[in-house]
């Protein structure tokens, strides 16, 4: 069973429907206690600003629960703002703490048009070596964001906007994050979502 963390930041329905489209059973977890042994993958979605989302995670007990979950080596996947919250801190309307599970801070994008909204290409970095998506480098995914991770130490995929490259997919151990929305990226997005969920839950690590 996959648990989608519902910490009252944005719509969880589309993420749930995406997993259900390839046969996963999904629990919308409203409380940290719902992240039990039965859960094979915790998903942290999120839309909106970093600050209020960070406050929500830390005030509801979710931050502590997810750090413990991660510390036990269990699979964790962040999407969009959810990926940003896995990082060390967010510089959006001030400085806010992230969960600190992925190195780097979330910084403003520098581009003529903000938000970065629409379909952009993702190039695989080839790291980690055992992550081999069936989609080619250059496949398009749907982005909507104004801040990004520029630290490349956990980058599995990168994207360029107006000449500046940022990390659009992170993958370290059993923790992954997408800056784009795989659940809104058509068949390519669903395919990558499934392969990543399977990779995070693989038997050997």
């Amino acid at each position: 069973m996959i648990a989608v963390v519902d910490y009252q930041v944005g719509n969880m329905g589309n993420v749930r429907r995406a997993f259900e489209s390839f046969g996963e059973e999904v629990l919308l977890a409203l409380r940290p206690e719902q992240l039990t042994e039965k859960v094979s993958l915790a998903v942290l979605p999120g839309v909106g600003a970093f600050g209020p989302a960070s406050e929500s995670l830390f005030s509801t007990g979710w931050a502590e629960r997810l750090r413990k979950w991660h510390g036990e080596g269990r699979p964790l996947l962040g999407i969009c703002l959810g990926m940003q919250l896995l990082c060390e801190e967010g510089h959006e309307d001030g400085k806010w703490p992230g969960l600190g599970l992925i190195p780097g801070a979330i910084l403003p994008l520098q581009a003529r048009k903000i938000p970065h909204m629409g379909w952009n290409s993702v190039d695989w970095t080839g790291s980690p070596a055992d992550f081999t998506p069936s989609l080619q480098s250059g496949e398009y995914f749907y982005f909507v964001h104004s801040y990004a991770l520029f630290d490349s130490s956990g980058a599995a995929g990168t994207t360029t906007l107006e000449g500046r490259t940022f990390t659009s997919m992170v993958l370290r151990g059993r923790t992954a994050g997408f800056q784009f929305h795989p659940e809104r990226s058509g068949t390519a997005g669903l395919s990558l979502l499934k392969e990543t969920a399977d990779y995070l839950r693989r038997g050997d690590l």
Partner: protein
């Protein structure tokens, strides 16, 4: 590379798509969810649904069809038409829409833009503007489906909209809408350079050339209705054609 977006627009009245779609493989050309799935498969980059129901009763079905569209789609979609409170906007997003668009209600109450942006994030709020040319390089904002002149200047209004928090502009030329003679590229070019958020051109698409022209003049997305609904332009072929002419588009893998 960030691609230019092709956006079919569907008008919905009392829960049904009006002006249907002329493709033989469709079971029910009036069903919003079936239309949505059809355009996703055609290669549309996102969809816009405008609820043109004249009454609150007509919009009563909105909750049902927005949810069904959300269940059918794995690409983004926007819902507009008659949204006048942040609560209504939030309800539509909670059902699964990615963005809401504001038009008349934002003109009547500009603080609605900021209120929605704070609730949903800027990226979820589209300001839809109906523009009518009034003279050399001048356009006036109209509301209520083009029936009411406001005296407001289009470029000033979209700048204010962005200042107040909208994350995208959907700009419709009333002079060009339905004429199929091409977008108002002069207006779109001025608007695209006036604001720092994406601009969607609307009103007047009659051919692939018109869409190419809109992109070359700075629009980030091109919205069209009848050329797609009647199969005059198929999205896959359109994207091939645009790509050959140097426009970055998302082609199907």
């Amino acid at each position: 590379m960030l691609t230019k977006r092709i956006i079919p627009c569907l008008d919905v009245r009392n829960g049904r798509v009006v002006k249907g779609i002329n493709f033989q493989n469709l079971r029910d050309a009036g069903d919003p969810a079936e239309m949505a799935a059809f355009y996703m498969d055609e290669g549309a980059d996102e969809l816009v649904f405008l609820d043109i129901s004249a009454s609150a009763e007509g919009r009563g079905t909105r909750k049902d069809w927005v949810l069904k569209v959300a269940e059918a789609l794995f690409i983004p979609f926007t819902v507009g038409g008659g949204i006048s409170t942040p609560e209504e906007a939030r309800e539509i997003i909670a059902l699964g829409a990615d963005k809401i668009s504001l038009n008349t209600a934002a003109v009547n109450n500009p603080s609605l833009i900021g209120d929605c942006a704070r609730l949903l994030g800027r990226q979820g709020v589209v300001l839809a503007v109906d523009a009518k040319a009034t003279g050399e390089g001048k356009w006036e904002v109209y509301t209520s489906g083009g029936r009411t002149a406001t005296g407001m200047d289009v470029l000033e209004w979209i700048r204010e909209g962005v200042r107040r928090g909208c994350g995208e502009i959907l700009l419709t030329s009333m002079d060009r809408d339905g004429v199929k003679g091409g977008y108002d590229t002069e207006l779109n070019a001025l608007a695209a350079s006036a604001v720092s958020v994406p601009l969607i051109a609307s009103g007047g698409a009659g051919s692939a050339e018109h869409i190419l022209e809109a992109f070359r003049k700075g629009s980030d997305g091109a919205l069209a209705a009848s050329i797609f609904h009647y199969g005059e332009v198929r999205i896959g072929e359109l994207k091939e054609w645009l790509s050959e002419r140097g426009i970055p588009v998302r082609k199907r893998s």
